[in-house]
């Protein structure tokens, strides 16, 4: 059964609560980043690029049935790890659920600095873009 966005966020918080310190958390993030599904080269194009001044993020979305499917990538590994978490939360969810979701797990697992505008790593814009895609795909399908 497909889990809801709040359920997945709770799972991630649980998963991270078992890690003892920042080293273990970052090692886990790095593993997630390394295991993130490689996106098609065709999706790694400028149109899908979210510009951060430090690391770059590519995000692509398409609709299948009533769900939104996301693929994403980054040139930085930690950013990729966080992307893996975001995709776990948002991929294959209904667009209305995506639009109303509040993304509180990042703060709860102690990684909120990566969503600070100061980091300029593209993640904050990625969250906006994820929601924007959901809105756009929903509008298109009505």
């Amino acid at each position: 059964m497909n889990h809801t966005i709040p359920e997945i966020q709770a799972e991630i918080v649980d998963e991270f609560s078992m890690l003892n310190d920042w080293v273990e958390k970052y090692e886990h993030l790095i593993d997630l980043g390394n295991n993130l599904r490689v996106i098609d080269e065709s999706e790694r194009k400028d149109e899908n690029l979210i510009k951060g001044c430090q690391s770059r993020v590519w995000l692509h979305a398409k609709q299948k049935d009533s769900k939104v499917h996301y693929t994403a990538d980054s040139d930085a590994l930690i950013t990729k790890g966080i992307i893996a978490l975001m995709l776990r939360v948002f991929d294959n969810q209904p667009s209305d659920e995506i639009m109303k979701a509040s993304l509180d797990f990042i703060d709860k697992i102690g990684l909120k600095e990566h969503l600070s505008p100061n980091r300029a790593n593209g993640l904050l814009s990625m969250v906006k873009q994820i929601k924007f895609y959901a809105l756009a795909l929903q509008a298109k399908s009505v």
């Binding site: 920042w22 080293v23 970052y26 090692e27 790095i30 001044c53 430090q54 690391s55 770059r56 040139d75 930085a76 590994l77 930690i78 950013t79 600095e113 990566h114 980091r119 300029a120 790593n121």
Partner: protein, 415 residues
């Protein structure tokens, strides 16, 4: 290799210098703060913090206007600060020192004011290693007046290609604007020699001193540059204050940049006449506390001695390069022979952002990214770098911890 071949840092008392900076006692992420982001902004000694606090506690009023006691006191303090800074860079006259918001503001002032006199066919010569704030104001100025921006190349080691620079100089060159010490690479440019060449063609030279004013002795008369600009917050002073030095005869001819209070002599609805230098370029109530704080920062630098600071930082630069060479897969970006305390590097197969994010967890503050020099990063064909930049309070121990942290981060990232 370990330290023994290197001279110990004996010429300055690092312990007492560190004592002067309250922030260095704090912890970051549970670790002692190792602050190596000084090219972005340096920390402040207590004497600067106290000077600002004393000003607001006991001396504040508006300047240059009131006949009352406090206004005169504030004006006196403000003008003493101006005099300290102009003496520090050896300006011929105090009125040649204009207070601004910082380097960016100073360059905008010159690009706007002098920019008004640009004509079609004129050229502004910059270099590939400039900070965005020494590119964009000139881009706007040349576009507004049909002039042309010309860019001199750099060598792969990050030094200026002087041959190319001289080739691009011509009677069309109205102004050349270039950085004294590159914020991204640490390259020191030979300003004296460049000034001579620019003047031979009848052009003017602006020097972006954001990274040099506090690292080396700057004598604007010896350099013979026409303008020299700097930021208070990079030289142990407060944010929001900086300066523009300009030769008096040039500033006198230049049109005001911003207008309003303070900068006028007489106003009628038909016509306004402007104040004398330096006030002509200081519209509105100035950043009085900032200027006083910057004056205190100059006192701080002089209490140690700028020559001693240069020597100590140069020794530390050798040490940091030596230590970081131990890191597997490291590549230094910017290896010019003449170099100040900035070390930019990349590690094979590792993104700079990842290094920066991990060593932050170890209490080490460095900068990662393009350092506001996107065209330079493009020229070097890199996404950005990790940059450690030095200040007077950095110790060899800081460098040891940086090195250990970078080694540990690379191991985590390459597993």
């Amino acid at each position: 290799m370990e330290g023994s071949s290197l001279k110990e840092k004996t010429n300055i008392n690092i312990t007492s210098i560190r004592e002067a900076f309250p922030i260095l006692k704090r912890k970051v992420n549970g670790k002692n703060l190792i602050y190596l982001d000084n090219a972005a902004s340096s920390q402040k000694p207590l004497s600067v913090i106290d000077a600002i606090s004393e000003y607001y506690s006991n001396e504040h009023s508006n300047v240059h206007r009131g006949v009352h006691y406090l206004s005169q006191l504030a004006t006196e303090k403000f003008e003493i600060a101006r005099s300290k800074i102009s003496t520090y860079i050896n300006a011929a006259e105090t009125r040649e020192l204009i207070f601004t918001k910082g380097t960016t503001d100073s360059i905008n002032l010159v690009a706007n004011s002098l920019g008004r006199t640009l004509q079609a066919g004129d050229e502004v010569l910059i270099t590939e290693m400039e900070h965005h704030s020494n590119i964009v104001p000139w881009q706007i100025a040349v576009n507004d007046h049909g002039a042309k921006l010309v860019v001199a190349r750099i060598h792969d080691d990050g030094s200026l290609d002087l041959e190319d620079f001289y080739k691009k100089l011509s009677p069309k060159t109205r102004i050349s604007s270039l950085v004294h010490i590159s914020n991204a690479l640490g390259t020191i440019n030979p300003i004296k020699e460049i000034a001579k060449a620019v003047h031979e063609y009848g052009g003017l030279l602006l020097v972006d001193g954001a990274q040099s004013a506090h690292h080396m002795k700057v004598d604007v008369q010896k350099l013979n540059c026409d303008f020299y600009v700097g930021s208070g917050h990079k030289m142990y002073g407060p944010t929001g204050i900086g300066f523009l030095y300009g030769k008096a005869h040039l500033l006198e001819k230049m049109h005001p940049y911003q207008s309003g209070g303070e900068m006028i002599a007489d106003v009628t609805f038909e016509k306004t006449t402007y104040q004398q230098l330096p006030f002509k370029f200081e519209a509105g109530t100035p950043n009085i506390s900032g200027a006083i704080g910057l004056g205190a920062a100059v006192d701080f630098i002089q209490s140690i001695g700028i020559e001693k600071i240069t020597e100590a930082e140069s020794e530390l630069l050798n040490y940091i390069q030596l230590k970081l060479s131990e890191v597997d897969g490291i590549r230094f970006i910017g290896t010019a022979k003449e170099k100040a305390g900035v070390v930019s590097f990349l590690i094979d197969g590792v993104h700079p952002y990842d290094i920066g994010a991990i060593i932050d967890k170890m209490g080490v503050a460095v900068r990662t990214g393009h350092h506001c020099t996107q065209p330079l990063m493009k020229r070097l064909n890199i996404p950005g770098t990790v940059r450690a930049s030095l200040a007077v309070y950095n110790s060899k121990q800081d460098i040891d911890i940086l090195t250990e942290s970078v080694i540990r981060a690379s191991k985590m990232l390459r597993k």
